[in-house]
């Protein structure tokens, strides 16, 4: 078993879930997301976020719009699409289920 690979896959799954959760609380641009994810140590290197965002957008979970900024060029603001919301709900349910089953398994 390739432990690094398993870890990477786990982290990636959780990260995608977290991005959707963060965006469900309001639209944000990449740096906002980065700050929150780094605060909770979910992200080691910032570069990880960008491929995930683009892929989620391509999957139709996210949409973005350009917004003028008071400092510097316009920023890319991401928002959850209807599909994104549905996926998030599903993920929340399965996350909860996963936690409960793992907890019951570990506490046996």
């Amino acid at each position: 078993m390739d432990l690094e690979n398993v870890k990477a896959q786990m982290r990636k799954g959780v990260l995608e879930f977290c991005i959707l959760s963060l965006l469900s609380k309001g639209d944000a641009y990449a740096t906002d997301l980065l700050n929150k994810l780094k605060e909770s140590e979910l992200i080691v290197v910032e570069g990880t976020l960008y491929p995930l965002l683009t892929r989620q957008k391509n999957a139709g979970l996210l949409s973005y719009r350009w917004e003028e900024s008071t400092q510097g060029p316009p920023r890319k603001y991401y928002a959850l699409t209807e599909k994104g919301r549905e996926v998030l709900k599903e993920l929340q349910a399965s996350w909860k289920g996963l936690i409960d089953s793992v907890a019951s398994l570990v506490n046996q």
Partner: protein, 522 residues
Amino acid sequence: MKKTLQINLGGRHFHIDEDGYSKLNHYLDSLKSHFSSEGESGKEIVEDIEQRIAELLENRITPVKQAISLEDVQEIIGILGRVEDFVYDGQPDEASKQNQTDRRDQRRFFRDSERGYLGGVSAGLGEYFNIDPIWIRLAFIALCFLKGLGLLIYVILWIVVPKARTTAEKLQMKGMPVTLSTIKESVNAEYDKVKSGFNTMGTSSAAERTRNAFEHIMRAIGLVFVAFFKFLIAFVGILFLVIGSVFLAGLVILMLGFSNILTHFHIWNGFDMPDLSHLFASSGQYYLVAISFVILVLIPIVALIYGGIKILFNIKTKHPMLRAFVLTAWILDLILFVSLIIINSTNYAVGATGINSETIKTNKYPRIYVDVRDNTENKKITRYSVFDLKFNYSERDESLFSKADLRVLPSGDDKMDLTVEREVKNVGLKNSQRYLDRIEYDWEQDDSVLYLNEYFSTDGDDFWLFADLDLKLRVPEGQVIVLSPKVCDMLHEDQRHSFCAEDQLSGKNVIVTADGALMPEK
């Protein structure tokens, strides 16, 4: 002066140093080539990242610092991470493998404060060597019994080795186990780096052709060279550590001797380490000299150990301020030490003599007998010689016994007396009386017999005094004396030759002539 370039990144303009630019360019190229397989969205990802880089660079521009430097670029690459560090689902197997070889490549020794008990040194070493930290803790504790060496090494590592603060550093701390195959991998990775360095040098087709020819030769040479170089570096590191540790242990032993903490600690053929404080004008000066000496020796030792650790564990921290400070401190300390020694050596050469004269009652005795008592009998004497100096040391009395020197002289009047002259060298003027008093010598008169002790004694700690004792027996003209054969051993050289060897006057009646010769009584 540095050449700067102007670039447009994420819709913003920057001035950037040339080396910073080439590093940034290289980085962006690696991103582009990595995401190129994903077509349009790959481009989008790179653009988003460029945007972020621009944002981070902008934060580094200040009114006093307008241009982006190489350090800025390196820092930003650290924040964003290299492609191999990204968590993504491209080719997971390949990616994680790459990830690990790279990590092994740049693995660093950090202190792991999260898993550690004290400073996280053991936990960090455990990560580095991929073993359970409990063994390292046990090793440290075991080393503590070697005169506290373990504690000392631990404290030095605690100070020297940085703590893993960022998440990236925490990841760097961990690595793959060191096996033959991983060593091979790391060597290969190193070789690839050298090769890519060649690649960027020329892009013409001619260069490409020669490169192919070079490739096979380079691979062979590169493998040998890299392996040899790594071995050499590790060897130098270990050498530094060993030399430093040996000196450190020596210094610790010396310090213990200096302060006489362990008085039972017998070095120097059974003598305690001398309390050198007598050598200095005051105890304050002595401690100053001792402290400045310790600092003088300790700084290079610690520097040696620090350098060894840095080489061995590939730590690349630079503290120019600290280095300058330590160097200045060392030079100042050297000046202080040398001046103290010079100041103290001026009174070191001073000696002193104490003269004490006592009258001998002649009472018209026809003869006065002079006999010698061996006062080292039953003292369990051990004889030591250091170069041509001889010491008779009594373990029981903790005293040194040396032979007294006797001269028989004419008194010039009708009185008879014995003068005891004590002499000490190597003491300051201040201390002379104290040491003179510590020289013990006894003699006694029993009616017409004088009993002289053969030896005088000094404190065992004072062997460096080179104390001396001269006896002068002054005899009135016409007074007959009888010297026992044992006196020969004590007599001053001039008289010993004439008295003991040739004339065989011992045990016979002799008189002292006006010019100091011993003659048989007529």
